[in-house]
């Protein structure tokens, strides 16, 4: 009988290959569930989950909330913008207050790196990291890998290029860990200012020419340029970025093969990819969103399974 090897989902780097396989097997079942006429199962009816979003989010928050509700959990939501955090309350105080209301699982997004790990050491609840600063975003990486596996049959041996702002991207780091664990080859492509200095220590190659990168790969995971995380200018202008690293239909048509296009959203149409690429049949952007609910259901279900009363 199978169980996750970890009590929390704090990052992909804490997972084993067998954990990812178990999550994917369970996701298959939940994907079937969310395509039924009635998309709900009663498994978690005695579990309460708090979604704590100290940083803005639309799709991740909606996806988690939907996953929780489809498992019949009770859900409470919290956004930092409308809370006492602004009044100076500390993270542990905020969370302990919420846990006093008998919460079993905390889904947290926070702008500080390691916020999830910190919390897991100080509070008595299962923690799911929904993004901690520029560090990790494990459920996004899981759903990305699940979508690649669904589209191409497996992740092993596939060539994946991650394009864009690697420096500020938690999606990139989690993706690198998850893809490597499953035996994929990875390159990153972007302006050298947005490529972390020590990326090669992860066994990832750097390519600064977008055409060469796309010719090499089977899948291109295109990231958003995160202006909000850039305290200084990393490239001269958005227009220049688009000219050097933007993906359009013309580049894709000249590749001589059909690669898969992914994007974790939100898309800046016309910046990192053009509209015709985002809406092309080789783009699996909306499949990623659908799979996100199934994968999150699997993660929550498997962690909840370990809770004993």
């Amino acid at each position: 009988m199978k169980q996750l090897s970890v009590p929390h989902l704090l990052g992909i780097k804490y997972l084993k290959k067998s954990d990812i396989e178990l999550i994917f097997e369970t996701s298959d079942h939940f994907k079937e569930v969310i395509n039924r006429p009635i998309k709900k199962v009663p498994s978690l009816r005695d579990i309460t989950i708090a979604n704590l979003f100290f940083e803005n989010s639309t799709r991740t928050k909606l996806s988690f909330e939907l996953a929780e509700k489809r498992l019949s959990a009770d859900v409470i939501n919290f956004s930092a913008s409308q809370s006492s955090v602004k009044k100076g309350e500390t993270l542990i105080d905020t969370v302990n207050n919420i846990l006093s209301m008998k919460v079993d699982i905390v889904v947290m997004r926070h702008s500080s790196v390691g916020a999830g790990v910190f919390l897991s050491k100080h509070v008595n609840a299962r923690i799911i990291n929904a993004g901690d600063g520029t560090h990790e975003h494990p459920t996004q990486a899981l759903l990305d890998c699940y979508s690649i596996k669904e589209k191409l049959g497996s992740v092993k041996g596939k060539k994946i290029v991650i394009v864009g702002d690697i420096l500020h991207s938690r999606v990139a780091l989690s993706n690198i860990f998850a893809l490597q664990l499953q035996g994929a080859q990875i390159k990153v492509c972007g302006p050298t200012t947005l490529i972390p200095k020590y990326i090669s220590s992860l066994g990832v190659k750097v390519e600064t020419n977008i055409k060469k990168a796309l010719e090499w790969c089977d899948v291109a995971n295109v990231l958003r340029v995160q202006h909000e995380r850039m305290d200084i200018k990393y490239f001269p202008s958005t227009r220049e970025y688009t000219q050097l690293f933007g993906i359009n239909k013309e580049i894709l048509d000249n590749l001589g093969k059909k690669i898969v296009i992914m994007h974790p959203g939100p898309i800046n149409r016309g910046v990192e990819i053009t509209s015709d690429v985002a809406d092309a049949d080789q783009s699996i952007i909306l499949n990623q969103v659908e799979n996100g609910v199934a994968v999150r259901m699997a993660v929550i279900y498997l962690l909840a399974q370990q809770i004993k009363r």
Binding site: M1, V33, R36, I38, S43, Q305
Partner: protein
């Protein structure tokens, strides 16, 4: 106590034919009836009955589906061991259909309770019946009884009924053994 044979291969064969005939008696040509095997163990019996109905009794267009009840169980997190899910495969609507649940052993009735909840996700059936190979009488936790049964047994709680199918264990047989 040693392992005891409850049903041998030829007895199972006779029972399968009888159950098939009883189904035909109540469901005629099965035009409005669907068979649902409860995963994982009920699926073998369901497949066997559906083969028998199609080949020997010439029933056409028999609808067979498989229902997994893992996410509907009432013992989630209450067991020592986690339960592994199987797949659900129901390629038709069950709205206004007569549903026959098929399982190998009816014991506490809790799996059937979970199946009754699970099947609601696929519509509102006209009726639901229950077919089991082995009915363990006197051990029910819930008011659930089979409509069709292969053999009734009075096994005590520290005994276990094991059903082997030739698909997985080379030959069909039902044993009763101590836990």
């Amino acid at each position: 106590m040693r392992k005891k044979v409850l049903l041998n291969t030829s007895e199972i064969d006779i029972i399968l034919h009888r159950l098939a005939c009883q189904l035909i008696e109540n469901h005629n040509n099965f035009s409005n009836t669907v068979l649902i095997g409860l995963q994982p163990r009920g699926s073998y019996l369901a497949k066997r009955l559906s083969e028998l109905l199609t080949s020997t009794y010439k029933i056409k267009d028999l609808k067979l589906g498989f229902l997994d009840i893992t996410f509907y169980r009432d013992d989630f997190r209450r067991r020592e061991e986690p339960i592994e899910a199987s797949s659900t495969d129901i390629q038709f609507l069950i709205e206004n259909k007569k549903v026959v649940f098929i399982d190998d052993v009816l014991y506490s009735g809790r799996s059937v309770r979970a199946a009754l909840t699970a099947i609601q996700s696929y519509g509102r059936p006209e009726s639901i019946e229950l077919l089991v190979l082995i009915d363990r009488r006197f051990s029910r936790h819930l008011p659930i009884q089979p409509d069709y049964k292969g053999r009734q047994v009075d096994a005590i709680n520290n005994e276990r009924v094991v059903v082997n199918w030739k698909e997985t264990h080379k030959k069909d047989a039902v044993y009763i053994e101590p836990k």
